[in-house]
């Protein structure tokens, strides 16, 4: 007879999921019977009748153990895949990560290429989606100068996944002498970059988020020049708005200066 499914209920955060991976792995219950369910607000809707529920306590120690063993015992690439999936928004990411890591400990570094295994395929898809989104943010994010002296740049984004860690590094390298803030409106978090490449990620309070929103209300001169350039660079004879939509999807235009 089959064993009942065991569902690990964890916080809906990176730390929560990795703690659940640790607990589940340690249990030796068998990965076919294990699910990892990050607790969101409407969790009760998919309550399963014949399953055992196991609450997970989030602990830094568990998180670090998982991260280090994946990095050292599987590969850096596997570590990168896992961290990307952890930052994603997909409800099944906990299951996919747990199974991926389990396979990884048996197969070693080649697990990342084994796309014929369903959980590896899934991790690969999630990783691709997260980094595609991060890449779109690097392309389409726009800063505005919200303060002259000293100069402060501010950008707002609304990504599905928590991409700030993946994009802030890019801008920190690019603008070592600038103070800038990247504000993620979806997840109410922001990265703050100080000169010389130091930056921090903060979860924002309501008031802090409002303060940033207020700063964004300002107008500046270069917007006008950029729009002028954007319009005059079009070749009328080649006009093709469908192609433009394919390349620059409407939902990414929400904060893009040239479309406002």
């Amino acid at each position: 007879m089959d064993k009942p499914t065991r569902i690990y209920q964890c916080e809906d955060t990176a730390e929560g999921i990795l703690s659940a991976v640790y607990d589940a792995g340690l249990s030796g219950y068998g990965h076919k019977y294990i699910k990892i369910q990050p607790q969101t607000e409407n969790q009760m809707e998919n309550f399963e009748l014949f399953a055992e529920y196991v609450p997970v306590v989030t602990e830094e120690e568990k998180v670090l153990r998982v991260i280090h063993s994946v990095r050292d015992k599987i590969s850096r690439q596997a570590h990168f895949y896992m961290m990307s999936a952890v930052a994603s928004c997909y409800p099944d990411r906990g299951d996919a990560i747990y199974q991926f890591v389990t396979y990884g400990f048996t197969m070693g570094a080649k697990v990342c290429d084994a796309l014929q295994i369903p959980c590896v395929k899934r991790i690969f898809e999630i990783k691709r989606a997260v980094h595609n989104e991060a890449h779109f943010m690097k392309e389409f994010l726009r800063f505005q100068e919200v303060q002259r002296e000293p100069a402060l740049l501010l950008a707002v984004i609304e990504p599905k996944n928590r991409v700030i860690p993946f994009i802030t590094e890019h801008f920190a390298d690019r603008f070592p002498e600038e103070w800038f803030i990247i504000y993620d409106k979806t997840h109410k978090e922001a990265s703050f970059h100080y000169r010389e490449g130091n930056w921090e990620l903060h979860i924002l309070t309501e008031e802090e988020a409002e303060k940033l929103e207020e700063l964004l209300e300002q107008q500046e001169d270069y917007v006008d020049l950029w729009k002028a350039f954007f319009n005059s660079i079009t070749i009328e004879e080649r006009k093709n708005e469908k192609l433009q939509r394919n390349m620059f999807a409407l939902h990414y235009r929400k904060h893009a200066t040239e479309f406002l």
Binding site: Q116, F140, P176
Partner: protein
């Protein structure tokens, strides 16, 4: 001529971007460079697009002319001296400020600076050099810079620009020398190819002395290397140093002879031929320039106007291949002809510019650079044009059904690459994935194979996806045309095909 003496910065920007927009290249790829303390900017090897204009073309760089005044009278060009259009000229300071302020806001990856010819080629090149000098030295810009080499400018000025720029380009303008003579009376092949050769040799010297400096070899170079063929321009530098003679005895393998047009004939006297004398050394300013970025680390590109002088696709591809082989170019761009001047010497266009033809040329260009195809495999003198209905790879596969079906679980990388629906990324993934077990059709989807094209040409463990599939030219053609939206859709008045769908595999910012 209309001069805008007191134009505002916005008016100048409008005039000088409008005048620059017919230049195709907007890529910011080819060099990886970290940020630096005290400077602004870095560069990403894959390039980054920042927006897409209403014509669907990528905006990556601030693409502007320094001035649209011009002493030349090229028949196809909006800026020719006989045209009655508003004229304007930037100051170096204006160009620098716009670049920096746009860059800080993440509107652009850098600057693309071109120019009309003002007074003389040297005078124009000097203005470009002064602007780039200021941008690099005074404004401390460390991002991407693409600039034009002006045909006929002196080697010293070309070299100076090359120490500031990441990429340089000189437009070939027209695929045949005859076309150039007719339509661009002030330009000739020699003034175009001489700086191109100088930059090529300069890059080789710089790499030998300083290393790659974050730049990379061209995709074409890597592909030839993988296939064990002669590398582009490999012995050019050596020949140039020793004998200072013409480029003879180049690798003959794979060079297409399009005889009768004189495109690539090795004839020193013919102005037509794609060869020029080698300068003994290309670079002489090592001591006076900032060599930290290297010389043109991102390589050079060129562009040709398509459909203005009656040349065939075969001629265009032959020239393209010769440019990749002999001049070690990074990219060749194609620009569908737009009759902006309604000149009597130019073909009248009915409806849209030849966008579909341009699209096919780009697809074929990718087949040369990434897939190891040779131009002569795709076209011939007897069959000088691409099939409008099928992409060049499908077209090739249908003409070579004896190579198919290909077994996914055993075929080599280069065999997989020739299967329609399999790109470079998916071929790599297949090769990696099958090390851990055999692949089925389900896994191929995840790998990114375009199944609607691939299923006619592949087997997994000896079986085709459906038993009723036939390896038959008519059958496959009919199905491809029916199932593939890209093939027939909107062919005619409105062209709305995904122009850049062939770039999906590369995510190149251009």
């Amino acid at each position: 001529m209309i001069f805008q003496e007191n134009a505002t910065l916005k008016q100048k920007l409008e005039i000088l971007s409008d005048a620059a927009k017919y230049d195709v290249a907007c890529t910011s790829s080819g060099v990886e460079r970290k940020g630096k303390k005290g400077q602004i900017g870095n560069s990403v090897a894959s390039g980054i697009c920042h927006s897409f204009a209403a014509d669907g073309r990528c905006i990556s760089l601030l693409k502007i002319l320094f001035t649209n005044e011009c002493i030349y009278n090229c028949k196809y060009c909006i800026n020719r001296c006989t045209n009655d259009v508003p004229r304007a000229t930037f100051t170096p300071e204006e160009v620098c400020t716009l670049t920096i302020e746009f860059y800080r806001r993440n509107y652009i990856e850098g600057l693309f600076l071109s120019s009309g010819i003002i007074e003389s080629p040297d005078y124009t090149m000097e203005l470009i050099c002064r602007t780039l000098h200021d941008l690099r030295r005074l404004y401390r810009f460390n991002g991407y810079v693409h600039c034009k080499a002006i045909p006929g400018a002196s080697p010293e000025l070309i070299e100076e620009a090359g120490w500031y720029a990441d990429r340089m380009s000189i437009n070939l303008e027209l695929p045949t020398a005859q076309g150039l003579r007719e339509l661009a009376p002030n330009k000739n092949r020699k003034t175009i190819l001489t700086p191109m050769r100088q930059i090529q040799n300069g890059m080789a010297e710089s790499r030998a002395e300083l290393g790659m400096k974050g730049g990379n070899q061209s995709a074409y170079w890597y592909t030839q290397k993988r296939l064990g063929r002669a590398l582009p321009g490999a012995d050019i530098a050596a020949i140039g140093e020793k004998t200072n003679s013409n480029v003879k005895g180049l690798p003959q393998q794979g060079i297409i002879r399009a005889d009768g047009t004189g495109l690539v004939r090795e004839n020193p006297q013919a102005e037509n031929s794609l060869s020029v004398k080698n300068a003994s050394t290309a670079l002489s300013q090592w001591k006076h320039r900032d060599t930290s970025r290297g010389f043109v680390p991102s390589g050079q590109s060129t562009q040709m106007i398509i459909g203005a002088a009656g040349e065939s696709d075969y001629e265009i591809m032959a020239v393209t291949e010769a440019l990749y082989q002999k001049f070690d170019l990074k990219r060749v761009f194609y620009s569908a002809f737009i009759n902006v001047n309604q000149d009597a010497n130019l073909p009248a266009l009915r409806g849209q510019p030849p966008l579909r033809r341009e699209h096919r040329l780009y697809q074929a260009d990718f087949l040369l650079r990434y897939y190891g195809f040779r131009a002569e495999e795709l076209l011939s003198e007897k069959r000088p044009f691409f099939n409008t209905y099928l992409d060049p790879k499908c077209d090739w596969a249908l003409g070579h059904l004896e190579h198919f079906p290909v077994e996914i679980n055993t075929a080599g990388f280069d065999v997989l690459l020739r299967v329609p629906g399999i790109g470079t990324k998916s071929a790599k993934r297949i090769v990696e994935a099958r090390k851990s077990g055999s692949l089925d059709y389900h896994a191929l989807k995840a790998i990114g194979v375009v199944m609607k094209r691939a299923i006619y040409f592949i087997t997994c463990n000896g079986r085709m996806m459906y038993h009723f599939l036939k390896i038959d030219e008519d059958y496959i053609t009919r199905n491809l045309l029916e199932n593939d939206k890209d093939v027939m859709k909107d062919f005619g008045e409105k062209v709305t095909y995904k122009q850049l769908s062939l770039f999906d595999d590369y995510a190149e910012g251009g």
